[in-house]
Amino acid sequence: MTTNALLEVNNLTVEIPTRRGTLIPVNEVSFNIDRGEIVGVVGESGAGKSITGSAIIGLLDPPARIAGGSVTLQGKLISDMNENQLRDIRGKRIGTVFQDPLTSLDPLMSIGNQLSETAMAHLNIGRDQAREKALQALIDVGIPAAESRLDAYPHEFSGGMRQRVVIALALIGDPELIIADEPTTALDVSVQAQVLMLLKRLCKERNTGVMLITHDMGVIAETTDRVVVLYAGRVAEIGDTRQVLTAAIHPYTQGLVGATPNPTNLANSQERLNQIPGTMPGLLSMPAGCPFHPRCSEVMEVCKTTLPTLSQRENSTIACHLGAEAKT
């Protein structure tokens, strides 16, 4: 894609050395995110979504480590930065929203203090200004009676409100990019949409790029501009959201889309949702060739021996042998 992308992830590979061999939860993953663009990263649990997110901001838990590839933010390489340099990236240029708002906040510090502490770490401002900034951040994320809630502690907020606070924390340093790791999974269904819309609105207003990690195709459909589909640590398909949802090419993506209930014909639909048979292979028992071939409905001989490479097909980039030979 374009070279002036906000975030460029190039052949990113993550290794976890274990006693029973080296695991590769993220394998040569590449994608870009532009300013103001919301990119969904989707896949089953264990596909490497969250690890990719952690690797970008250098928060991999040891012994996991980046073994290859690069991450650049606005042309600047950040994947080889040390902890001190990364501190100026985290929070200031890349904000993060974790899955569980119940555990993301320090239970013993008022949210006002957590907000102004973050603001002071990045914006070179004093205590009073930081407090004003914190108040404004709470108003921005739609916390009612924000002024009186500054001195409240996390346990005094509901789950949805807490996630709003987490979003406020992620945005307070005015980052160019937000990495949101399953931001609504732990929330009640009724507040999921509200929080997603809030995140979407704020980022569009500020022209902030978003990497939205999720396993929920419904969330992808409602929120994102583009989608990266991960399978077993590798990119299966990248494309515009509408393209992927309506005319997915990779059989795995088709399966994912087919496994999501379609609200328009839910009422008259008598048929069961399509399921992808089988489960994703474990990291220690990766099959030869295309990792998806044991579950693929359109498996060919070549799939069992050769790993498909990414190639441009219509509006998508996919890694699949299907239809590839017709093109070349």
Binding site: I57, L59, G91, D100, A121
Partner: protein, 326 residues
């Protein structure tokens, strides 16, 4: 929260009631109270007079209430051994024990938290590993051996610190303190280290494991993702969350210090209540044993109450509704 404190208060009162009953039973049922007080040559008339005077012919419940009433007025009877009122003996020796306990508790707490945080943050460092290994030996080393070892090194071989006693004391507002004289300060060093070392290792190991646990939590990860400095994360977030569970244990440790003071006082011939108690156990001097039990019991109850209150102060989750999150 108010209800929580009240409930804790009543629990404390219940504990004290039970401790009091045990103390009372010791008085009443160990040995023959007549013989204990009057000696073996008492006449029947003497016995009757004593029975009348002490109310030993009244129902047990009445006797118990009378015992509690007396105890609240500081009236604990007379030592079987030398006939001096127990309250007097205790009052005379209490300052020595309290000073020793406080100095060693501060030593244990300060150094324990410091080393615990250090070993948690530098988990795989050489010095941290060395401290951890040494601490295991420290846990296996009985208090009295530590004391003997210190005496041997610093009093016998190097001859720099006294091996027994409190040194010179001065009286300040009716309190006989050894902390105001040079020889008193020198005298408290070895006993305080002896008494505090074990607690120090415990506090250290506890702080370390709690801190490691906290460092793994989501909010610490999130704090890192927010780009906070390591200092802010370790001391602003991790340490505060670590100290919460540690406070309870430290409360219990304070109780332990009082109990272990018995050993230290014996090793160093420190003239405190612990030494008094151990001699009482040896000679089955029931009034002193019972009084010591009551004293230590009330102290523990008070410590537990203070710990509960501290919890409320530190943990905002407890301020609103005291029942959860305990």
């Amino acid at each position: 929260m108010f209800a929580y404190i009240i409930r804790r208060f009543f629990q404390g009162a219940l504990v004290l009631g039970i401790v009091g009953f045990i103390a009372f039973s010791m008085f009443r049922f160990i040995g023959d109270p007549y013989e204990n007080i009057l000696g073996q040559d008492a006449t029947v008339l003497d016995r009757q007079a004593l029975e009348e005077r002490l109310g030993l012919n009244k129902p047990i419940a009445i006797q118990y209430l009378k015992f509690l009433g007396n105890a609240m007025q500081g009236e604990f009877g007379v030592s079987y051994r030398n006939g001096i009122p127990v309250s007097e003996m205790i009052a005379q020796r209490l300052p020595a024990t309290i000073e020793l306990a406080i100095v060693s508790a501060l030593f244990a707490l300060f150094l324990g938290v410091l080393l615990g945080v250090y070993t948690a943050i530098n988990r795989d460092g050489f010095l941290a590993n060395f401290i951890m290994t040494t601490s295991l030996i420290g846990v296996s080393l009985p208090t009295f051996l530590i004391g003997i070892l210190l005496i041997w090194v610093f009093a016998v071989e190097l001859n720099v610190l006294p091996s027994f006693g409190r040194g010179e004391t001065v009286e300040i507002w009716g309190w006989k303190t050894g902390l105001a004289t040079a020889s008193g300060l020198k005298s408290i060093i070895l006993p305080a280290i002896t008494l505090g070392l074990y607690q120090m290792t415990l506090v250290m190991r506890l702080v370390r494991s709690e801190m490691l646990e906290v460092l793994r939590t989501d909010y610490i990860r999130f704090a890192r993702a927010r780009g906070l400095t390591r200092r802010a994360i370790n001391f602003g977030h991790a340490l505060k969350n670590t100290l919460l569970p540690v406070i309870t244990i430290i409360g219990i440790q304070l109780g332990q210090i009082i109990a272990f003071a018995i050993i230290t006082e014996t090793v160093f011939q420190w003239p405190g209540v612990g030494l008094l108690f151990i001699n009482a156990v040896n000679f089955v001097d029931v009034p002193i044993m019972a009084t010591y039990l009551l004293l230590v019991g009330s102290l523990f109850v008070v410590i537990n109450l203070v710990v509960d209150l501290l919890y409320v102060v530190i943990d905002p989750r407890l301020r609103l509704d005291g029942t959860e999150a305990r």
